[in-house]
């Protein structure tokens, strides 16, 4: 009996944390594993040393978090061929083309463009046999198994409607519509034609996010999150990089990534309390959107979009025994309960290609091969619809603004 008591006491001590038995483990391992049990779970081996992720000062990346895996296709697997019809040849289409060209047994068989010279140049670079401006002819082609729509945001909805009508899967860039209602019409179209549409929310596929969440999953329940998604709106508008239509719908077009990522990590809130200052009378300058999201059981999140501040998105996810920090979203850290800051190591595909795009496009292509809608972390159209609903609830401004003061309100520290 005494033996049993000693055994149980030892077990409790180990459970309580490695610090009681800290002398057993070398310092580097102690930094990387929260508990002795976790160390054992990882097979008793510390992860291979990794270089600091791009953009992280070497002095900060003292160690890497233990969860890491790679997403690149494995060679030597017999995969069915997939033929892609691509819409768009702009900047972002180049990111998708770079990935599609490198995927095994994937070919882009046709390119639909608006007629700019860039279409021909792109077709030549990626060996695409057909370039057309005829959308009707494009969508009816037999040599296309699925569509990748990277058109400008203004035409995304109507082109996607046509593609879905063929009954073939569609991977489309965000936003899927400029309102939740528009997105709902895409959901209906996909249902009516027994296919699926997947929206390019590539931040869901960031390897640092996945590696961080895998570490956080062992740190107790997630209690909350803070998402800050600032947008340099006025300077962007003045650059005339986009069409005026895009600036008129800037919130839905650009802030969707931040809201969707928060929704992906935290789920659907039970209640939304928001304060929105769209500043439409001043062409959207210095607009602010802030919301408090209530998930029940004391779990809350905040989302803050302060326009015309430094454009560096930040996400903070807090669990009971640790938290994640992403700033910018492409670089992250897991902070353990002992406040060791462990850098999250990115998958090389997120360095070679635009972050998240390789894993996202591969996920879509594999789903086309299987003939079933993709599972997590894909953002399918119904999922995107709920994200847009959440954005509209944030815009709806459930809280009241203070009455205008006299004289005119001044900015703090201005």
């Amino acid at each position: 009996m005494i033996k049993t008591r000693i055994k149980r006491a030892a077990k409790r001590t180990l459970k309580a944390g490695y610090h009681a038995f800290g002398w057993v483990l070398p310092a580097r391992v102690r930094r990387e594993f929260r508990t002795y049990r976790q160390f054992r779970r990882m097979g008793g081996q510390p992860p291979a040393p990794a270089p600091a992720p791009a953009g992280i000062p070497a002095a900060t990346a003292v160690a890497t978090a233990p969860y890491y895996w790679e997403r690149r296709e494995r060679p030597g697997v017999d995969r069915p061929a997939v033929r892609v019809g691509l819409v768009g040849a702009g900047n972002y289409a180049q990111h998708h083309l770079k990935v599609l060209a490198d995927l095994d047994r994937v070919t882009v068989t046709a390119l639909l463009t608006a007629g700019a010279a860039r279409g021909q140049a792109t077709a030549a670079r990626y060996n695409i046999p057909l370039v057309t401006q005829d959308r009707g002819q494009f969508v009816q082609r037999d040599d296309i198994d699925c569509f990748v729509v990277v058109a400008s945001a203004r035409y995304m909805h109507e082109i996607t409607l046509d593609c879905l009508a063929t009954g073939k899967p569609v991977l489309l860039e965000k936003p899927p519509g400029i309102t939740a209602l528009e997105t709902a019409s895409l959901v209906q179209q996909a249902l009516a034609h027994h296919t699926f549409g997947m929206v390019c929310m590539n931040r869901r596929f960031y390897s640092v996010l996945e590696h961080g969440l895998a570490a956080l999953a062992w740190a107790g329940p997630i209690r909350g999150a803070v998402m800050e998604f600032p947008l340099a709106f006025t300077s962007d508008r003045q650059s005339r990089r986009l069409a005026e239509w895009d600036y008129e719908h800037y919130y839905m077009r650009n802030a969707i990534h931040g809201v969707d990522l928060l929704r992906y990590v935290m789920g659907d809130p039970l209640a939304v309390h928001s304060l929105a200052w769209p500043n439409e009378a001043y062409a959207g300058a210095a607009a602010s959107y802030a919301a408090l999201l209530d998930y029940g059981q004391g779990v809350t999140a905040t989302v803050v979009d302060l326009w015309d501040t430094v454009q560096r998105p930040r996400l903070h996810v807090v669990a009971e025994s640790g938290w994640l920090e992403f700033e910018p979203l492409e670089a992250g850290w897991f902070i353990s309960e002992h406040q060791d800051k462990l850098a999250l190591r990115p998958d090389p595909v997120d360095v070679e290609y635009r972050p998240g795009v390789y894993a996202q496009d591969l996920h879509f292509i594999n789903s086309v091969r299987r003939g079933v809608a993709p599972a997590r972390p894909a953002c399918l159209l119904p999922d995107a619809y709920r994200t847009m609903q959440l954005m509209e609830r944030i815009q709806a401004n459930s809280l009241s603004h203070p009455a205008p003061a006299a004289p005119a309100p001044t900015l703090i520290n201005a």
Binding site: M1, I2, T4, R5, Y67, Y68, W69, R71, R74, V77, D78, R79, P80, R204, L209, E210, H211, G212, L213, A214, L216, A217, W218, G220, P221, I222, R223, Y264, V265, G267, Q297, G298, A319, E320, N366, R369, R370, G371, V372, A373, A375, R376, P377, D383
Partner: protein, 346 residues
């Protein structure tokens, strides 16, 4: 395996049975790991609303390309498993089970214990099950029933070898719902009689564990009386070593003791003493036995029904109520206000 899936390596086509995991927390993760390594089960899909659960799952199983869904309906319809295993925390059990029923799932359903956070929820699930055609088996994962050790004790109780079972004691430092509910279920199973009263005094607070600070699950002592006159006492408090931790069943003609490490059951009577069963306690092997019992009716393990699981929950609900009311005995059947009480169980 279809040709379309042939490009996915490592999905375990040689396994005998298929299952899906609905809710992939720490416990489910360990169960999946055990079942897949054992080789008789193939995980065809998983589902969890948590992105962290998904990421942790990927950290181990990314090579297998097991689809991981956010919704139960997707996981069931896309992959059609034989067994759906609900392994989320208790607040989600009934809602997930209802989603499984709503999806028209025709396979077997295994729900982690405790069945719910309130008896009203468990009642609702029972009504839902009655309204469905009885083509499937629904069980709650009280895995001790899958242990040959505890089955051997049940066999003695059934045989009447030691006469009538009079009293059961269980002593161990534990949380009443998390670990303790396994022994509450075992005691109910061995007694085989309706509950009459529950009296309890619980610890002033509940330590925080990996499930989170939101959940409240203190230890303490609980006394149970059955309609048949049998009694039981659970001491879920820290003990001195000489107080004999473990399970002790007292019969008219002898007793059975199971040590706290669940490694052996010893029968003591006037005829002498003998070992009923001995085994290395491997919880996950017991869970695997429960899985096997779901798909193989001939298995000796006796599955815990939803109604029996509701009885185990009723003891915990009554214990918390009794504690709050100065150790007042709580009589069964429980009134509606106690049945609708929602506990913070994980």
């Amino acid at each position: 395996m279809s040709a379309a899936r042939a490009f996915e390596n490592g999905s375990g086509p040689g396994a005998a049975h298929t299952f899906t995991a609905l809710g992939v927390g720490r416990h489910a993760f360990a169960v999946i790991d055990y079942l897949l390594k054992a080789g008789r089960w193939q995980l065809v899909s998983a589902s969890d609303r948590s992105a962290a659960a998904y990421a942790r799952f990927q950290s181990s199983y990314h090579d297998r390309q097991i689809p991981f869904y956010a919704s139960v309906a997707e996981a069931l319809t896309a992959t059609q498993p034989e067994v759906a295993y609900i392994a989320a925390t208790a607040p989600a059990h009934v809602a997930l089970a209802e989603s499984v029923l709503a999806a028209g799932f025709g396979g077997q359903l295994l729900i982690e214990k405790p069945i719910a956070c309130s008896l009203a929820e468990a009642d609702r699930l029972l009504e839902g099950l009655l309204a469905q055609p009885a083509t499937r088996r629904v069980a709650v994962n009280f895995n001790r029933r899958g242990a040959p050790l505890y089955q051997s004790v049940k066999a003695v109780v059934r045989s009447g070898e030691l006469g009538r079972l009079k009293h059961i004691d269980y002593k161990r430092d534990m949380k009443l719902s998390m670990k303790g509910s396994h022994y509450i279920d075992l005691i109910n199973w061995y007694m085989g009689a309706p509950l009459a009263t529950v009296t309890a005094e619980l610890a002033a607070d509940s330590s925080v564990d990996t499930r989170g600070a939101f959940f409240y699950d203190p230890g303490g002592w609980v006394e149970i009386e059955y309609a048949s006159g049998q009694t039981a006492r659970i001491d879920a408090v820290d003990h001195f070593p000489d107080l004999g931790e473990g399970l002790c069943l007292e019969f008219e003609l002898g007793r059975i003791q199971v040590d706290v490490n669940e490694s052996a059951a010893r029968l003591m009577s006037r005829q002498g003493e003998r070992e009923l069963a001995a085994e290395a306690a491997v919880t996950y092997a017991w869970i695997a036995n429960v899985f096997e019992a779901l798909v193989s009716p001939a298995e000796p393990c006796v599955l815990c029904s939803v109604a029996e699981a509701a009885d185990s929950l009723a003891v915990i609900v009554a214990a918390q109520w009794s504690h709050r009311h100065g150790r007042a005995p709580v009589a069964f059947p429980l009134p509606a206000d106690i049945r609708s009480e929602v506990l913070r169980l994980a």
